[in-house]
């Protein structure tokens, strides 16, 4: 009577096949994803995509388009914009990029703009006409740009010379969010210790306003202390105020602060303004003259 041999060789073969297949499918020839939405991008590229949205918004001021683009990322646009701007500043990123993010966050937080402040696009016509030459073009080095653009000059305002058939479906957007005007530096008009405000202990609370008292977003704030300096922007806390920004102070350090380019600094800021042994805050109001 012969003993029945167990089929270990089959199990060995199966395991060997699984390993070989997995090696090929995940390492040698991994799957390539295509036709994805921006929401599937990795976090770093999502940040880049979000930054591109903010930069584009600076150019076209089309909040509807910016919102539609941000929706593709499937996130909380306002919080993510502010968070990314702060991360960018903390990581030594571009000030201009952080400012673009802050301004878009501010625009999102303030969606209802009075109609009187809207400025219609100069090319706002209803017909979505595309020049007939476009379909005949092929993606090759022989693309004739003159066939697709009416005013092919390196102008910063290319639409000024657009033909009457040029179409624009843009929503009329306000072209001016409250921003500092050149040549009007921000001056400190009030600088005082804050002792009785909940949550203000140890914090430097900054408010920046224009000459009319309107909060201004996107203003760079520079805080200096012996041996150090930091900077941030207004507009990252639109739920509080468009011109608001804050900074966490350390005990025993004397700070000075300046708002915008060429602005006047105010000094003597510390956490000890409420008396010895009391952790106080400080409030500074900057305003254009």
């Amino acid at each position: 009577m012969s003993e029945r041999r167990r089929p270990y060789y089959l199990i060995t073969g199966l395991v060997l096949g699984l390993l070989l297949g997995m090696l090929y499918a995940r390492a040698i020839n991994p799957p390539v994803l295509v036709n994805l939405t921006p929401g599937r991008l990795n976090p770093v590229d999502q940040d880049q995509y979000r930054l591109m949205i903010a930069l584009a918004f600076q150019a076209d001021s089309d909040l509807g388009r910016a919102i539609a683009r941000l929706d593709l990322l499937g996130d909380n646009p306002l919080a993510d914009l502010a968070s990314q701007a702060q991360r960018m500043l903390a990581g030594g990123g571009s000030m201009e990029d952080a400012r673009a993010l802050a301004l878009l966050a501010q625009a999102l937080a303030q969606p209802s703009i009075p109609v009187a402040t809207l400025e219609p696009s100069p090319t706002e016509t209803p017909s979505p006409t595309i020049t007939p030459e476009l379909p005949t073009l092929t993606p090759s080095p022989t693309l004739d740009l003159a066939a697709v653009v009416h005013s092919p000059t390196l102008s910063r305002t290319p639409l000024q010379g657009a033909s009457p058939t040029g179409a624009a479906t843009y929503t009329p957007r306000p072209t001016n969010t409250p921003q500092p005007t050149a040549g009007a530096p921000f001056l400190p008009v009030e600088s005082k210790a804050v002792c009785d405000v909940p949550g203000a202990a140890g914090r430097l609370l900054v408010e920046v306003q224009d000459a009319a008292g309107t909060p201004v977003a996107g203003v760079r704030i520079v805080v200096s202390w012996p041996g150090g300096q930091d900077e941030f922007f207004t507009g990252l806390h639109p739920q509080i105020d468009d011109g608001y920004a804050d900074f966490s102070m350390s005990e025993g350090v004397i700070y000075s602060i300046r708002a915008g380019e060429g602005g006047q600094a105010t000094a003597g800021i510390s956490t000890s303004g409420c008396g010895a042994g009391v952790l106080g805050g400080w409030s500074v109001l900057f305003q254009q003259p």
Partner: protein, 117 residues
């Protein structure tokens, strides 16, 4: 007979792995780059780069932004976007912005062989 069964079991294992590795387990999120975007999203990304260029007139920054999309020449990407813009019904203003960027890129780093017939 045993060798045939052994090889068959290896092939079965490979098949199962390929199904799992290619179809059931998606790539990790950190492997998804802008190059994987759908064509219309890529076109919109190029448009955003063109809009940003309108604002800062920084052709180096524009090229760097476009480089995230593909290894192809930035000018080629913009030209492709112009063609897609026509098919996607972009406004003339959008096409103008793309064309301005294409011209700037052409002056900055023309494609081999030139861009005009």
């Amino acid at each position: 007979m045993r060798w045939v069964a052994f090889i068959a079991s290896i092939l079965l294992g490979i098949t199962i792995s390929l199904v799992i590795g290619w179809m059931l387990i998606p790539p990790a999120a950190d492997q998804v780059t802008p190059a994987a975007l759908r064509a219309d999203y890529k076109t919109d990304y190029v448009l955003m780069a063109a809009e940003a260029y309108q604002n800062d007139a920084d052709i180096v920054a524009a090229a760097r932004r476009l480089a995230l999309l593909s290894n192809q020449a930035p000018l080629y990407l913009v030209q492709e976007a112009i063609l897609n813009a026509g098919q996607l019904g972009y406004t003339q203003q959008d096409v103008d912005w793309l064309a301005v960027l294409a011209q700037a890129l052409e002056a900055w780093a023309p494609l081999p062989g030139g861009s005009t017939p």
